[in-house]
Amino acid sequence: MTDLPLSGIRVADFSWFGAGPIAGQTLAAFGAEVVRVESEAKIDSLRVVQPFAMNPDGTFKTGYNVSGYFNNFNAGKLSIQLNLNTEKGQELAYRLIERSDVFLTNFTPRVIEKWNLRYEQIRQVNPRIIAAYAPMQGLEGPHRDFLGFGAVLTPVTGISELSGFPHRPPIGVGTNYPDYVVNPGHTVVAILAALRHRERTGKGQLIELPQIESVVNVLGTAVLDYLANGRVQTRAGNRHPAAAPHGAFRCKDDFESVNSPDRWVAIACRTEEQWRALCTAFGHPDVADDPRFATLSARKANEDELEALVGSWTRDRKAEEVMELLQAHGVPCGVVQNAQDLLERDPHIRARGYYQYLDHPETGRSAYDGPVARLSETPGYHRAPAPLLGEHTWEVCTRILGLSDDEIADLLAEGVLT
């Protein structure tokens, strides 16, 4: 077996929904043994929401193991069922933490307290533990117990106010954006940094990642514009203060694009050369010198007209053709792709083998997002599909927790392993 960066590291993954589990999945892909602790008493809702795998007759499969939402965030992990509402469940949690290098959770502070999983408590059994907590608002502070999840975080952090067209209400960005890269990614960065510190000093530590702080951090310019200049930015659609044209332009409809026939390209002209190249590519080199558009400031001043003009050039062409045409002229341009494109039509993604296809006992062969980066010597990969709920309860209890078969049978009978 290849030696991977995190070979020999064990992660006690007490997380749920998106941000926590994705962090655990990245650690697993690069060699850590990640034990996902779950319970039917507090089921991870992602196990029971769409999209579900389908039966051949077109109906949805049912149960805890068929959601692509859950599966795509939990590949390569072991799943143990442990009811943390029971005293014995908490004892076993401690035993797992004692034998782990990293503890990971994004449960609320209230739940963490109820289950006795505060850092001050778990460090008693394992002073070397790196304990990462990713609550919505933080472990302390006046809003500590505010409710929320990704959908609330998007408005609260400013993403909604600052994204989209100015004539529309702040409707958000169509997804719980912070859950999938920003928060899990920052969590992993912090854990890896703490692992390095432990390598050098032997010391574990507490990592607190308040999701609001993590997300506002990536909107720093808008916040700084207020803090330094007193300016309150708002949403500006697809426009850019130092580029024009800059936006999405409609192309010819494509009915092979399933239930999404309207096709668009994104175009960004950052330089005068790119603007000239765009005009030339579309067969209108003279327009580049039109006084309404000849300079960036002229194009910004006449942006509605500019966008209408560029839109008239793209409207009757296939999106892929526009992309290839403009790219051949060195203009940043890309199709506004959907998932069908990414999985089946984008030759580049395919050539890079980004998606990993894994055989799962209930969903069949399914696609998983690849690891966060390609490491030439120690490439990460999903060693297994997402676990079935409790698939490894027995294995974890015996191999990691050191329980006997009789003890396990008793715990099962007592409802601790549920």
Partner: protein, 410 residues
């Protein structure tokens, strides 16, 4: 002063817009990040807004937030001397970060193969729009193109509008965050084994993870998720669900979601303020009592089931709208949350600067700019490490450390 997690790590950064946030994350965690910049600076130094709107290479706020805690060295990679110094500098590093188009540094004697041969432990991270290989590896890139190609724009916006981009160059941010993870993984490995490697990050791939469920929906159901705008995924307008206008801003209500109290708790609040109108009367009272997640699920799976009550739902929603319109946005957020209702403030930058939680936690960090004679509060780090806290150091002026760093090389 407490130690830093990346004490003793030296990073040479050849990054502009795509990768500079990666360098910032490493620098704030204590790495010595030396940013190598072209004469005149790169794009980021020339991107508005500027401090007090004073355009200049040292005043771009875009540059500031993505380049905290770094040192800056100006080298001209188009000259032999510049390349030779860059190579010498790179070989003093544990990590090299770069976001040039693939092949650019290799053509200047600074590619992975060449530097790896000279220093096998070097971690060499390339952060680009489309990665180091593949038919689009050389495509011209800009953030919006990454958002488009990565599948997130198609999900954002009203169906009748063009797809929306997400604010803040998020394809670059995602690429940088993924690069920071890949770099630290490779660094841990190099420190253990002495073996460096090439880390390849594609912004398109990085942001594509943020498609939420779109990828799996196609894979499992051969259906594309499309942008659904204000309505979201629910085909019927439901009261207590969506964006509402307050007296001085907006709030997002998700009262029907399972994490908080159900709709009747909102009606209680409205009643206390004398704004419940006729919601305590039939047919509204019994409908209000039913409004919770099972109702939403039913509507999502079978929109027809809600047809009969759509006029009542619309009326209830009007009453909620009228109530929210009497509240300040912050008041609606804080009081709603106190009542355990899922209410989110649609924060403006001003709200964020004044946010009671961020302020109480001392999240904003003062950064001194002696040459400007000011101290400016910066956004704090994304995480708190109890033993090795991150620090936000002043972003460097262009070439501020050229003499000092070149002197170290001699």
């Amino acid at each position: 002063m407490s130690p830093s997690a990346l004490d003793g790590v030296r990073v040479i950064e050849f990054c502009d817009e795509i990768g500079s946030y990666c360098g910032k994350l490493l620098a704030d965690l204590g790495a010595d990040v030396i940013k190598v910049e072209p004469p005149g600076g790169g794009w980021q130094r020339h991107t508005p807004p500027y401090f007090r709107d004073q355009e200049g290479v040292d005043t771009s706020l875009w540059f500031w937030v993505h380049n905290t805690s770094k040192r800056s060295v100006v080298l001209d990679l188009e000259t032999d001397e510049g390349r030779a110094l860059a190579r010498k500098l790179a070989l003093t590093a544990d990590v090299l970060l770069e976001d040039f188009p693939p092949g650019y540094l290799a053509a200047r004697g600074l590619g992975y193969e060449e530097l790896h041969a000279a220093k096998p432990s070097l971690v060499y991270t390339s952060i680009t729009g489309f990665g180091q290989f593949g038919p689009h590896a050389h495509y011209a890139y800009s953030d919006i193109v990454g958002q488009a190609m990565g599948g997130v724009m198609t999900l954002a916006g009203e169906p009748d509008d063009p797809p929306n981009m997400i604010v803040g160059n998020q394809a670059n941010i995602c690429a940088s965050i993924d690069a920071a993870q890949g770099t630290l993984l490779a660094l841990l490995y190099a420190e253990r084994t002495g073996k460096g490697q090439h880390v390849d990050v594609s912004a398109q791939e990085a942001i594509s993870m943020a498609q939420e469920t779109a990828m799996q929906t196609w894979d499992l159901q051969k259906r594309n998720r499309v942008r659904t705008g204000e309505k979201g995924m629910i085909p019927v307008a439901l009261p207590g669900w969506g964006v509402y206008r307050a007296k001085d801003g907006w709030v997002q209500l998700m009262v029907l979601a399972p994490a908080g109290k159900d709709f009747p708790a909102l009606v209680d609040w409205m009643r206390e303020r004398g704004m419940a109108a006729d919601l305590d009367e039939e047919p509204y009272a019994s409908l209000c009592a039913q409004l919770s997640m099972p109702f939403v699920t039913q509507v999502m799976t079978n929109p027809e089931s809600a047809m009969a009550v759509i006029p009542q739902l619309a009326h209830i929603n009007e009453v909620v709208k009228a109530f929210i319109a009497t509240l300040g946005a912050v008041e609606a957020y804080e009081e709603g949350q106190r009542r355990q209702l899922l209410v989110g403030l649609v924060s403006t930058p001003k709200h964020l600067a004044e946010n009671a939680q961020l302020r109480a936690r001392g999240w904003y960090r003062p950064v001194e700019f002696p040459h400007l004679g000011v101290t400016i509060e910066f956004p704090g780090p994304p995480y708190r490490l109890s033993e090795t806290p991150a620090r936000i150091g002043r972003p460097p002026r262009l070439g501020e450390h050229t003499a000092e760093v070149l002197a170290e090389l001699r």
